[in-house]
Symmetry: C2
Amino acid sequence: MGEGSVGIGLVGLGNIGTGVVKVLQRNAEVISERLGFDLRLVRVSDLDLETDRGVDLAAVRFDSDTDGLLADPQVDIVVELIGGYDVARRVTLQAIENGKHVVTANKALLALHGAEIFDAADRAGVDVAFEASVGGGIPILRSMREGLSANEITSLHGIMNGTTNYVLTEMEATGEDFEVVLKRAQDLGYAEADPTFDVDGIDAAHKLTLLVAMAFGARLTFKDIPTEGIRGLAPVDFEAAERFGFKIKLLGIAKQHEDGRIEARVHPTLIPATSLLSHVDGAMNAIAVHGNAVGPTLFYGAGAGELPTASAVVADLMEIARELRRGTAGRVAPLSYMPHALRVRATMPAGEILGRAYLRFTAVDRPGVLSHIAGALGERGVGIEAVIQQSRGEQAESVPVVILTHPAREAAVRDALQEIDRLPDVTAPTLFVRIEDET
Amino acid sequence: MGEGSVGIGLVGLGNIGTGVVKVLQRNAEVISERLGFDLRLVRVSDLDLETDRGVDLAAVRFDSDTDGLLADPQVDIVVELIGGYDVARRVTLQAIENGKHVVTANKALLALHGAEIFDAADRAGVDVAFEASVGGGIPILRSMREGLSANEITSLHGIMNGTTNYVLTEMEATGEDFEVVLKRAQDLGYAEADPTFDVDGIDAAHKLTLLVAMAFGARLTFKDIPTEGIRGLAPVDFEAAERFGFKIKLLGIAKQHEDGRIEARVHPTLIPATSLLSHVDGAMNAIAVHGNAVGPTLFYGAGAGELPTASAVVADLMEIARELRRGTAGRVAPLSYMPHALRVRATMPAGEILGRAYLRFTAVDRPGVLSHIAGALGERGVGIEAVIQQSRGEQAESVPVVILTHPAREAAVRDALQEIDRLPDVTAPTLFVRIEDET
């Protein structure tokens, strides 16, 4: 540890890592003023030592010797920003074993190996902080841990993936197809060449496992979260949603039921156009949290990007550094209620979830089709609230039929859809989108 | 201090005080689980011992002996919820002198006597926490202090008074006059019998002094903040704003300029109808904070009310209690950067503020009036971007003329208005509302 400062070692000098260097350097003065001492970047490791990242590393030891960094006595806190699973897991566990505190932005790592990592940190008496892993620069984990700490959290609804929110916002604004908008998002750098992680909801589900842990003290894993992406949405869905007074957002949703069970899921969702969450557009993120004392709250900001994510990483560094200087870091898990309070909790099966549904059928434009569809729903006790049947003109063979149901169990709706999708006049699988009235 | 617990003494059992008792009791289990020990309400004092507040105080010493409470060795943290200035100041200073940590929701007290109180706390080595004093249940101070700690804060824009936001939302929705809506707000309990504090912007300005301290480390007082309320707004202003793509909100605004000067003000403001802040309706609050790393953020929630405010008070109690049990409370001001980092900062005079303006003239409907108005503005270099001139039909003597200006210094606009308001055809003082394009 440098004299009067706390030493930082950074593993992984990619996009976010470079942002962390920038924030540490540009805001060094305000950081020192707030802490009363310096945060000193002493060492950086990366396999790529050639690329010019536009930051000055003259005062920093920069090499590929990650093991050396993890063992360096000058390094008090290790920042893990390599991403992925295997190497990140090994680096994180080695840092912990070496008695280093760890700051990470790696939601995938924590969603899959969180239990192992937090248990190891607990044994070693070090902190693992991960504000940047959810909501980018939005201090959402810290807000639930500290700001809303007096509350029983009852539900949360979050736009937690900027790529999909950008795609949905553009589809709504332009009326273009998913594939067209996705291509443009890729060209603009808002979406990866392989967009699976984002558009299929996997990234949001990773983040939701962390939010659920923080909100409910529940130890879920990624596999416990029913997850659907946005590939099935078409321009007609945005038009129909608007007619009914809704917007379509990819949400991570978690609720704590009175019986103690946790409901957690990721899927496209119709939310009222009057809700604040429905106005969160483009690549921005927002998480609406409901507490039993505070009522509804919402936290909004950039969910990704070099500097916003670095803002959260450096906030974690500052918090650990302050604890270190006070001699209290790692002793009482000030940075999280994890892993101590985390318990395996029963989850509510998706079939039991009660809510309204948006259904888009693709059917031959012929009398009697609606009667069949309504019949199949009615037999399972699924009531119909509204119908929009569009005729596409004489030459169209199939037309979309949109139905809004009254509140029903998801299992009943799914069961009806199985029968409906086997009808000869129904020419494509039905789209089923859940409606959340309370966001 | 009770065995294994931290002792709380509550001074003032009004609305918020009762809410604090409710939250401590209803959420006792989750609070204990998160802390690892109990928060124990040991003593409550109030002048009114008769009113039934609907809470069970059987296990608590409840009397009117405030001095006894402040000196009680079982009390580790004093919660000051009496409101007002004089008694609250005396109680707070006495608590500090007795070595008690203090939690307060009293923005008026802190805005006027903050320097004295924080200096006393610093000397005594105790913490003074006040999350509930701004934004009710929204953890906005904590978010700036911890979550955004790596940022230089560049600006903040906040809807910080629920009463005025309710009135503005209703005026916009119904087209009714200010007085009509205010009366209804009073009947519904959203506004006080004497609404001055709220509708004239005083409450918002109190809160802004605290936000400015937290955001910029600047020691401003209430008197440093130019403050205007919402009494001058008429239904025509909401109509005209909507035609130009704006909503009208009472904002507290603060900015840090490159030359280090602080700009801080409270007034009705036209903000783009596309901004998230413009969708914050009814009695809700929201504060948009811009940091140089994180970019734009927004924090939303209930700005007042028994339980939301109590949520913030109890979060403060939990934070101090945790520090107490670790033996670190008060030692390094973990609860604020105040008073250590607070410095008197130069403020930007209102006249220098550069921005677009919304001007509503009241003039006789006669040719030549607009020419006079435009001339007076043009002579001071104030360009006109748009005009709406409404004719009210043949029998109206005066009609509103609405002008949107290009960006101009406020002093130039005010100077032009002085001349314009002396014109014989101008029959009432002109309404001047600032436009903020970046919220």
